[in-house]
Structure formats: C-alpha cells, structure tokens
C-alpha cells in the first residue's frame, strides 16, 4: 500500500483511539454554539423596569404605565429608587411631585440605551394619560431580518475559531509529540518521503475538522435557524481553505519546537490576537483605524470575513476569489516553509 495512505491511516487511527481528543474536537465547538447561541438568541422584548416614587399621585401614574404592558412598575421611596437606578435594577425613576400634579420628573442615565428608551416611552404614556392627542396616524411594521441577529453573526465566527483551533492544536501537538518520542527520527531513517509525512499530518487533520465544522452549521440551523444564504459548495471551499490554512500554520508553529510547553506557548501567542481582533465575537471595525492594517494581516480575519460573506450575504464563489486566494496562499506558503524549517530530531 502507498506510504502516503499508510501514514494517513495511522494518523486517523491514532486520532480515533484518543477518546479525549475526539471529545474535545467535536464536543467543544458544539458546547460553544449552544451556550452562546442560547445566550444571544433574540428574545421576546422584556418589560422594562421602572420605579415610581411613593406619594399620593404614585398609584395613578403606576397604573397608566403598567397598562401599557411595556413596563414592570415598582412603587418605592426616592432614596431606594435612586439606589436601584445606580445598581441597574431599574432604568427610570418617575416622580409626580406632590405639590404640582401637572408636572413630572424623570431621573435616568442617558448613557444607558435602555434608560433613554424607557424615559421616552414612559413620557408618551403619561402625556397621553394626561390628555395629549397625537396628530399623525401611525402604522408599525415589525420586520425581523433573517441573518440580522447576533447569533447569525456569531456562527461564522465560531466556525472560523473551530478551524483555527482544530488545525493548530491538532497538527501542532501531534507533531511535537512525535518529535519528543524520537519517532520522527526513526521515520527519517527510512526511505519515507518527508512531504508524505507532513502532507499526512495536515490532511488527516482536515478530515476531522471539516465534518466538525459542518456539524456546527447543521446544529445552528436546526436549533437557532441560522441559514446559509450563499451556496453550500462555496461554503465548503471556504471551509476547506480554512482547514488547510490553519493546519499549515500549526505545522509551521510546531516545526522547530521540542517541548509541549514551547509549542503551547507559541500557539497561544499566535492565536490570542486572532481571538480578539479577527472578528469571532464582534466586528473588527470596532478597533481604531490605525490597527486595521495589522488586523487585516491576521490569517483568521479573511477567513471569517469570507465565511460571513457566504453565510450572511449570500456570496457565491465568484464573489470571494480574493478572500479564498488569501486563505489558500496562507496554507500553501506555511506548508512549504514548514517543510524547509522542519526539525526532524
């Protein structure tokens, strides 16, 4: 049987015989998707908390606010209401002064969006209750956009993160482990082709990472209705590229390390900037302009951007050639560099 196939099958066997590794590769991303998905799923709008200061007009104001079904109202003394505002237990304090029932005083924190919205909504209700007439006829159209929710934004980020972690840890750790055992040296003493060995390291990893990522796509579709707007073949090519890209980077990072500590340190040093800045959890646009060129150079940035183009904006292969080119170039260049730099003993 061909040496490449034998090397590949050995890697696959070794992976499957490591139950802990299998668990982490498949379970961890799913745990992430479920926990973050549940936390950030769009929920029915909750009632806003409002405090009404206790006095003879309090009951009347509280009733008007409560009837609107927008607010959950608590009647309390002013100092207590102020304390609750400070610790975020209420968004707004409404006070109708005892002496002047024809006025109303709002205390709120204008830097808190919820607070400001509550003030304006409460004001509308109290003004109408006091007899104000609106002059425009209003029609509200409530339109929830597919792909516009945070979870829709998040899933491509998590896929990118999975491709990065899977490739880097999988290839990097396995490589250094073989080096420590001096198995690399033993293989080097045979006529084995070095490119076969390194190719098998990368491809075996991809065989596990790609299904892992498709499981994320399926699960997020079933449970959180995250749709893929573009075509699946384009998505597949991007994911393939990402798997190659980060296996290559993992191999490069591990190409000279001789201990597991060194390789974990290097891996973290390489991955942490990408976790933060490449747009897994929030758009990289939030960073200041002068950082943008650096962020664009991180290998995870184009991967996640391209994933979002396909999943959220419905881009096809023709629309993402630049992104794909960057991704595959990363993979190929790092593989060739690793082949050159690789320390076999």
């Amino acid at each position: 049987m061909s040496p490449f196939r034998q090397l590949l099958m050995s890697r696959i066997r070794l992976f499957l015989r490591e139950p802990a590794a299998v668990f982490w590769v498949y379970a961890f991303p799913l745990v992430m998707v479920f926990s973050l998905g549940t936390a950030f799923r769009s929920q029915p709008v909750e009632r806003v908390l409002v405090d009404v200061v206790r006095n003879s007009h309090a009951a009347e104001a509280a009733q008007a606010l409560a009837e609107s079904r927008l607010f959950r109202v608590t009647i309390t003394d002013l100092p207590e209401a102020q304390r609750r505002l400070r610790i975020g237990r209420t968004e707004l304090i409404v006070e109708k002064p005892h002496a002047d029932p024809a006025s109303v005083r709002y205390t709120f924190d204008p830097t808190r969006p919820g607070s400001l919205v509550a003030r304006n909504a409460a004001d509308d209700i109290l003004q109408r209750a006091a007899g104000r007439r609106d002059v425009l006829a209003v029609t509200d159209i409530r339109s929830i956009q597919p792909g516009g929710r945070y979870i829709d934004f998040l899933i491509p980020g998590l896929i990118g993160m999975g491709l990065m972690g899977g490739g880097m840890w999988g290839v990097g750790f396995a490589t250094v482990d073989l080096r420590i055992r001096k198995l690399l040296r033993r293989l080097l003493a045979t006529p084995m082709k070095r490119s076969h060995f390194l190719g098998a390291m990368i491809i075996s990893r991809m065989l596990f990472t790609i299904p892992e990522v498709f499981i994320i796509v399926l699960i997020s579709r079933w449970f959180f209705s995250v749709q893929v707007q573009g075509d699946l073949s384009a998505l597949f090519v991007v994911i393939l590229g990402g798997a190659i890209q980060f296996s290559g980077i993992g191999l490069l990072v591990a190409s000279r390390a001789t201990t597991l500590e060194t390789v974990s340190g290097l891996m973290n040093a390489v991955m942490i900037p990408m976790w933060i800045a490449s747009g897994i959890f929030f758009s990289p646009d939030r960073f200041p302009d002068y950082l943008q060129p650096a962020i664009a150079c991180l290998p995870l940035t184009p991967l996640i951007a391209t994933l979002r183009q396909v999943m959220l904006e419905g881009a096809g292969l023709a629309d993402i050639t630049i992104g794909l080119g960057t991704i595959f170039t990363w993979g190929i260049v790092t593989f060739l560099l690793a082949l050159k730099l690789f320390r076999w003993q």
Partner: protein
C-alpha cells in the same frame, strides 16, 4: 567486500564547552560479518552509529555504506539498511501489525508484515497495541521494523539493554538468523558477553577513540595474562600489591569486593600466592579463577570497568 568504511571520523557537539564525542575513528565492516562497538556510557557509540545511519552529520571524516555516500545517495542507502535506535517510543496506540505495515510501505521491496512479526516471535501479539507490550516485546517490534525492508545491513544501538536474559537470548537468535541469511550487522553494546557471543569483530571505544579492534578471541589472547584470579582476604582492605612481584602475575587490582590478579599460568601462581599470604599472616577467605573476558581487556586498556561511571571531567588525552 566492504559494507561500511569509515575514516578520520570526528564529531564535536557545539556547546560550552564543546563535546568531542568522536575523536578520530577509522574502521571497516565487511559484508556478512557482525561487528560490535563496545564501550562504556558516553564513549561515543550512539554518536558513531548515528553518523553511519545518516542521522547525524560528522564534523570531519568520510563514511561510505556499500560504497555510497550519505551526501549524494541517501535514499539508496536507506533502502538497504535497517535501524533500531537506542531509544524510540513507537506510537502507543497502533498495533504491532499496523506499525510494521506502516514501515513496510516505505520500502520498495521487503518482507510481508506477518513474516517480519513471525521472525521476531510476536505472532500472538500481532493485534496488540504497542502500549500493551513489555519492554522486551517493544524492542522486538523495533527489530521487526528494522528487518521489514529486507535490509542488507542492520544497525542496532544497544538492542538488548534492559532485557531479561531470556529475551536477550531470543534477540541473539533473531540476529544469528539474519546473519546466516547473508546479512551484515553493526551493533553497539556495553555487555561484553553479548559482544563475545555475537560478534566476529569488536571495536573497543572509549572517549571517542578506538582502543582496540579485533575478534573477541584475539583481543583476549592478546592479554599477556588471560586468566583472572579473584581473592578475598582478612583483614579486608589489606594491600596486596606485593603479589605483582610473583612469577606469572601480571597485574593486581583491588575491586573493592575482591582483589583481581591477571595471571598467565594459574598452576604456577596459586601456590606462591598462598605461600605469600600465609607468611604475612593474612587469612584467605575466598578464591576463584576464571578465563579472562572482554571486560578484562577493557579494564587493562583503560584501568576502568565498562560499567563504571566516567569521571566528571574526562582527562583530555591530548586531543
């Protein structure tokens, strides 16, 4: 026909201070022979054999394997040699068959994996994971991976270190079979009985140099005194160096447990020794005689035992 020829081989590991592990070795291994490299820890055995295997590059010197050079024909050489390193931990969760099959795939032609496993006597462990084998069985898998490519030349670095006597004898049997089918072996060891038993010729090396190179029998015969008498006397620790003056006694050495005399003709020496001890009032509590071994050759050459620890700073012998 030569299998290996080496001349002027040197290896200095860079560092502070640099380590001169090999300081000028010349040797020739003939096709079909079993050649032993015998030496204590740190002598430079592994360094030498790994240069011959193409795993290390020499600082200076020329190495040819079947007339080919590592610089230009590495792949060709690798097709015809088989290797067992001093220390390899094969993948724990592959079975014996999977491991041997993997190695088989690297060679143009070779044994059928089951045949290699049979040769090292592991048929009943064919499907066991490497993790679940004993040390001796793992060593046999290592030898199976060395044999799998039908090599003409086997390199074995301390193949029997850590094995029990029965496993050592099994391995010796495997190597003897390999030789009788025309193979060449180069092995390192620090067991002199192994070298005496297996090797046609032995190079005794210490501190990176060859001290002697010949067949085990010739090396022993070259000792002027090829018998050893071990004495125990009371009071313990008495200085017996006066025995050197006796006829036929070549050397007296206190080993701690016994005093060892190198003797050419025991039947002449023993009566005189007894006489001398009695006349000095020393009481003899033990006496054994044996044929000299390679160990004694080594002791004579270096003044140390094979398994003694090296002095912390080896005396720089002019190199």
């Amino acid at each position: 026909m030569t299998a290996i020829s080496v001349s002027g081989l040197r290896k200095t590991y860079p560092g502070r201070p640099p380590v001169e592990a090999v300081r000028g070795i010349d040797l020739t291994v003939r096709r079909g022979e079993c050649f032993g490299v015998l030496g204590p820890n740190g002598a430079g055995k592994t360094t030498t054999i790994e240069i011959l295997e193409g795993l290390l590059s020499p600082t200076a010197g020329r190495v040819e394997v079947f007339g080919m050079s590592w610089d230009t024909q590495a792949d060709e050489i690798r097709q015809v040699i088989g290797i067992s390193l001093q220390e390899t931990r094969l993948a724990e969760k592959l079975s014996v068959l999977e491991t041997v099959t993997l190695f088989r795939s690297f060679y143009r032609n070779g044994l059928e994996p089951h045949e290699a496993i049979r040769r090292v006597g592991l048929e009943d462990k064919t499907d066991a994971w490497i993790r679940d084998l004993s040390g001796g069985q793992k060593q046999r898998v290592a030898v199976a991976t060395a044999l799998i490519g039908r090599p003409q030349l086997l390199f074995l670095d301390e193949p029997t270190t850590g094995l029990d006597p029965a496993s050592r004898r099994d391995l010796w049997g495997i190597l003897t079979d390999f030789r009788s089918s025309g193979g060449t072996i180069l092995l390192t060891t620090h067991y002199m009985d192994e070298a005496e038993r297996l090797c046609d010729r032995v190079a005794i090396i210490d501190q990176g140099r060859i001290l002697a190179l010949d067949s085990p029998r010739q090396l022993i015969r070259a000792l002027q005194a090829d018998h050893v008498i071990e004495l125990q006397v009371r009071p313990e620790g008495s200085d017996l160096s006066f025995l050197t003056d006796l006829e036929s006694v070549e050397q007296v050495r206190d080993d701690g447990e016994a005093v060892c005399l190198s003797v050419a003709e025991p039947h002449i020496a023993i009566p005189r020794i007894l006489e001398q001890l009695a006349s000095r009032g020393l009481k003899l509590t033990g006496l054994t005689t044996r044929q000299a071994s390679l160990e004694d050759v080594f002791v004579q050459l270096t003044g140390r035992h094979l398994n003694d620890r090296l002095p912390d700073r080896p005396p720089d012998s002019g190199g």
